[in-house]
């Protein structure tokens, strides 16, 4: 019992820490990648100086995230005169916390056997799924919490008592409702194939090999679904080309126009963590989570009988690494899209969701259902 608490406590601390680091890191990745894309140098000024020396650790500007955080914490927390106190104070947290909660059901590694890993008898032979909360409802929890974040946006827009904020909030509301629907529909096809909403099961089923050469990732089972998911996820994320709620050239900063200092920082931070979360969910559903082709719980088993034995610790480390690697590659892709495209207009955005993405998602679903039904018929 205590062992369970300890292990899950470690998982929770680990998840929160890694997500925060991810958010911080992504602010830097975004700048640096944008700079590379537009032939610039990018963030390279912030540094840590070793005390009592002239040694400056620049590290390609990695410390810019820290500098930003310190700046936001130290800035004046300016509030408009006519704001709604409670909602105004609550909004950044309502936007921020659900984003973290989504990660609770995402498995970030395979099975962990602490007894084997540390060689201590205290843990016995208990094994744990590397995930904060093993909930049967897995994917549904993702959507439930993902949908909550919009409340923070609406609260912020309404409580600021500013027309631009209100317009931003209204945009955010209608945009998120539309794209949440698309997002959910794209995944339903996948659910038919896997027959479960439990993310651990879903990842487990992606460890195999398709047709003898392809990894059995969702990406190859549902290519169109994966594409639609990325598009809808970028919209959920409110990033260009879907960044209308905060379209800075039209609405100043949209729903967080009236926010400053760390309250604004929380909104920004939530956005960056959301990129990582979206990438993590995509990795889980479509990129096989922590799986590498031919990798099992005890090492690699290549076709032809060639195997590489690995200790439990190595496998766990490799799985965690593979998971974050995939997440970061996905983040890089999302940032690439963000810096390549211009922004939709409000009516075009909704039209795109309802007239283009939704029918495609439905078609994808119908085809999947028919194929799955036929295959099941053959199997039976």
């Amino acid at each position: 019992m205590i062992q369970d608490l300890v292990v899950h406590g470690v998982f929770i601390v680990y998840s929160v820490l890694v997500l925060m680091t991810c958010g911080l890191l992504l602010t830097w990745v975004e700048r640096k990648q944008a700079a590379i894309m537009s032939d610039r140098i990018g963030a390279n000024r912030a540094y840590l100086r070793l005390p009592f020396t002239q040694v400056k650790l620049v590290w390609w500007g990695l410390f810019h995230g820290l500098a930003d955080g310190a700046k936001m914490l130290l800035k004046e927390d300016f509030r408009p005169d006519s704001h709604d106190r409670l909602a105004y104070a609550l909004a950044p947290w309502v936007a921020f916390v659900p984003v973290l909660l989504v990660f609770a059901v995402v498995p970030f590694g395979g099975t962990l056997v602490p007894g084997e890993l540390f060689g201590s008898a205290w843990f016995g032979d208990r094994s744990y799924q590397m995930q904060v909360a093993r909930l049967d409802a897995g994917l549904l929890v993702v959507f439930a919490f993902g949908g909550l974040a919009v409340l923070g946006t609406l609260l912020a827009g309404w409580s600021s008592n500013n027309k631009f904020s209100l317009l931003g909030a209204v945009r955010a509301g209608s945009q998120l409702i539309s794209y949440e629907l698309v997002l959910a529909l794209t995944v339903v096809g996948l659910l038919f194939i896997y027959g479960t909403v439990d993310l651990v099961d879903i990842v487990g089923q992606q460890s195999g090999i398709l047709l003898g050469f392809l990894p059995a990732w969702g990406l190859f089972l549902q290519p169109l679904g994966a594409l639609l998911f990325v598009v809808a996820a970028q919209a959920e994320n409110q990033r260009i080309p879907f960044d209308l709620p905060e379209a800075e050239s039209e609405l100043v900063s949209g729903y967080f126009t009236e926010y400053s200092a760390m309250k604004m920082g929380l909104f920004m931070f939530a956005h960056f963590i959301e990129i990582a979360i979206v990438a993590a969910v995509f990795t889980t559903l479509f990129l096989g989570g922590y799986n590498l082709p031919y990798m099992g719980d005890d090492g690699f088993h290549f076709p032809g009988g060639f195997t590489v034995e690995m200790s439990h610790g190595l496998v766990v480390a490799l799985q965690v690494l593979v998971f974050w690697l995939k997440v970061f590659i996905m983040c890089g892709f999302l940032i690439l899209v963000r810096w390549s495209l211009p922004r939709f207009r409000y009516d075009q955005l909704l039209g795109f969701a309802w007239r283009f993405l939704l029918p495609l998602a439905l078609a994808n679903l119908v085809v999947t259902v028919v194929v799955v039904g036929l295959l099941d018929g053959v199997g039976a």
Partner: protein, 409 residues
């Protein structure tokens, strides 16, 4: 002193043309301090949902009494001032102003000066169009395209700084000539920049031209017909985008434009996409013109040998009394411009930039008026905004390229 309340119903130019009650929906105030109004401009828009039902455009926030101020300075003192009209292409202002004064004085500039002025005017036009396109791309969220264009614009600014000593406000034109000749190696660098220009512009074309989102955002948005554009007095790329091939460089050739081979690109619909594309094409034409002009450039004096306007050489000022007096008179009293009036218009980056000068003889203008294209465009801007979406305000406004310095003066 406050106005008595019974006069509230009279039209007042500093208030919106409609009240929130009349407008019926939400009224938002965009500018003069808003990230989208990169000139200082105020747009009061009545919204129905996100659709703009009425728009009221207020300019004048950058008014600094330029025209009145000019009456109190000598003719050559005004050159730094005209730089600050359209500060994205200061050289064109310089040359248009100098041309007007020279016409009044009957001065014929040297051939090298004429070619150089044409070359620099076209070079400035590229920088100006780049600023405009970059800004309007940024307005619709395409940051990378913006940064590509800004890169080249900065090369151009640095390059012009090599020649003139300043990045934006050059003060390079002189009545009867130019401040100084080209430094060594300037033309080599020019060639390099033009090659890089082609590379970067190619990238922007690739990112934007066939981009579905970009086309949706710009096609059929802010549409203007030729009739309407002529009615409002629009000129430059704004007018050409509607399909009217009106270009002062072609219609009333000045400087060396008569000797050049170039096309006048026109649009088909007069919408944001056409304005974007006409500017892109014009930049290409400018590059072509610059290459012709480099070929035409021959050694020779850059300023006319005319004591009425050209300063004597410095060593002569220090060594002979005639030059010292000439210098003193030109600086203290200004070039003596005969009485008369003149209107000279150049095709600036935004359209017809005209200088109307009245002289009663002497070293200072009696009256000066500038026909700034931006100001006239602002008169019809609301026609481009009404009926479209809130988000189109910034996109359209970006494509109009309103420059506060030239509009408000």
């Amino acid at each position: 002193m406050s106005r008595p309340p019974e006069h509230d119903d009279l039209p007042n130019p500093v208030r919106p043309a409609f009240t929130p009650d009349e407008a019926g929906g939400m009224v938002v105030n965009i500018g003069p301090s808003h990230p989208a109004t990169h000139g200082t401009l105020q747009i009061i828009a009545a919204l129905d949902g996100e659709r703009v039902t009425r728009a009221d455009v207020h300019c004048g926030y950058l008014h600094r009494g330029f025209e009145k101020e000019c009456e109190d300075h000598t003719w050559n003192n005004l050159i730094p001032y005209v730089d600050r009209l359209n500060y994205c292409s200061g050289l064109i202002n310089d040359f248009a102003y100098c041309d007007a004064v020279e016409t009044l004085m009957g001065v014929e500039i040297t051939r090298r000066c004429r070619v150089l002025r044409t070359l620099l005017a076209e070079y400035s036009r590229i920088a100006d169009h780049m600023t405009c396109i970059a800004a309007s791309l940024m307005e619709i969220g395409a940051m990378t395209g913006f940064l590509y264009l800004m890169t080249i614009r900065d090369y151009i600014y640095e390059h012009l700084a090599d020649l003139t000593g300043a990045r934006v406000t050059y003060t390079y034109g002189r009545i009867g000539g130019l401040a100084r000749d080209l430094p060594e190696g300037w033309l080599t660098r020019l060639d390099e920049i033009l090659v890089q220009y082609e590379d970067f512009i190619g990238r922007v074309h690739a990112l934007m031209d066939r981009n579905r989102i970009f086309i949706d955002r710009t096609r059929d948005v802010g549409v203007l017909t030729t009739d309407e554009a002529l009615n409002w007095g629009f000129t430059g790329p704004m007018l050409r985008s509607t399909g009217a091939p009106r270009d002062l460089r072609r219609d009333t050739p000045y400087l060396a434009y008569g000797d050049l081979d170039f096309e006048v690109p026109v649009g088909i619909k007069g919408d944001n996409y056409d304005r974007y594309y006409v500017r892109m094409r014009e930049m290409d034409e400018s590059v072509y013109m610059i290459r012709q002009l480099v070929e035409m450039l021959e050694p020779g004096p850059i300023s006319v040998d005319d004591k009425r306007c050209t300063l004597p050489e410095k060593h002569l000022v220090y060594s002979e009394i005639e030059s010292l007096i000439n210098h003193f008179k030109l600086i203290m009293e200004g070039p003596q411009v005969p009485a008369g009036e003149v209107y000279r218009a150049h095709e600036a980056a935004n359209g017809e930039l005209g200088f109307y000068l009245v002289s009663t003889g002497g070293g200072r203008p009696y009256r000066m008026h500038v026909r700034g294209p931006s100001f006239i465009h602002m008169g019809g801007l609301h026609r481009l905004l009404e009926g479209y979406q809130l988000a189109d305000i910034v996109a359209t406004f970006g494509s109009v390229n309103m420059i506060g310095g030239e509009c408000d003066r």
